[in-house]
Symmetry: C2
Subunit: 156 residues, 2 copies
């Protein structure tokens, strides 16, 4: 009967990790579904929007630097950036100092999208969360700490 285990009280804490991961996973999808109709009005997907947020903050970053900020690698970013270039939101140019690097810069259209994005997205998101600012800040801080623990665990 050794393999005929029933639910035991000792399993409950162990299941918490699984449950938390699923909560994160499914909340990410829920967020995506909220963002989608908003970002459709800008012609962006959510990962593309993240790239725009990064570039609006600091233009002219390399693919590597964008990847560091978003925790994404070139296998994800290269095709994504090519699509954004085809949509005329950004330009990709080889760096003159270091020919290995590709520098990503906003086009006028991409830079101009910022104000429209700012007026559409954040208010709707804030509303959809149904959270107070204090709750949002609390959750944000705890998730960042958790993410750092997880990333550290993968390294070590």
């Amino acid at each position: 009967m050794t393999s005929m285990r029933k639910k035991s009280a000792a399993d409950l804490p162990l299941q918490l990790g699984n449950q938390l991961c699923f909560a994160v996973y499914s909340t990410a999808h829920a967020f995506n579904r909220v963002y989608k109709p908003l970002l459709d009005r800008l012609g962006l997907t959510y990962p593309q929007y993240l790239v725009m947020l990064v570039l609006w903050e600091r233009d002219g970053l390399s693919v590597k630097e964008i990847g560091e900020r978003l925790f994404l690698d070139s296998g994800t970013l290269t095709p994504l950036l090519k699509r954004m270039e085809a949509l005329h939101f950004i330009r990709r140019t080889r760096s003159a100092e270091d020919e290995r690097q590709v520098i990503v810069t906003l086009t006028a259209q991409g830079a101009g999208l910022r104000d429209k994005a700012r007026s559409i997205v954040p208010p709707a998101i804030l509303d959809a969360t149904g959270c107070s600012l204090a709750e949002l800040a609390d959750l944000h801080g705890k998730l960042v700490r958790l993410r750092e623990h997880l990333n550290a665990a993968v390294e070590g």
Copy 2:
């Protein structure tokens, strides 16, 4: 100069929604990277592992019922379940009472994987989070509430 806005203090609360969403999104990826080497030893991907968790809890569910528990639709689940069937973890059979439904049942191999999964996954996850049980429970509860708000916002 109307479009030459600078960072204003009023933007900070508005950016919290964006920041929270990115924290959720990037934490989901971080979790995935922690799970991957563990699930590789079981021959499962994370979404496949979620299906197994659901079936270990209650075998013989329809595709629809699995989708309700995981917030996924048939466009995602059908190919995923076909891959799991090809790996002999599950079987897919049309229901006799309602020929529209496909009932998913564990194979002996799939059912047998449970104990191995239980010994490998939860302890490693718990460790990687670096959180106390109280912190995990707190975060889990808050994320579930947030997810429900977001899902409600998409419906209405």
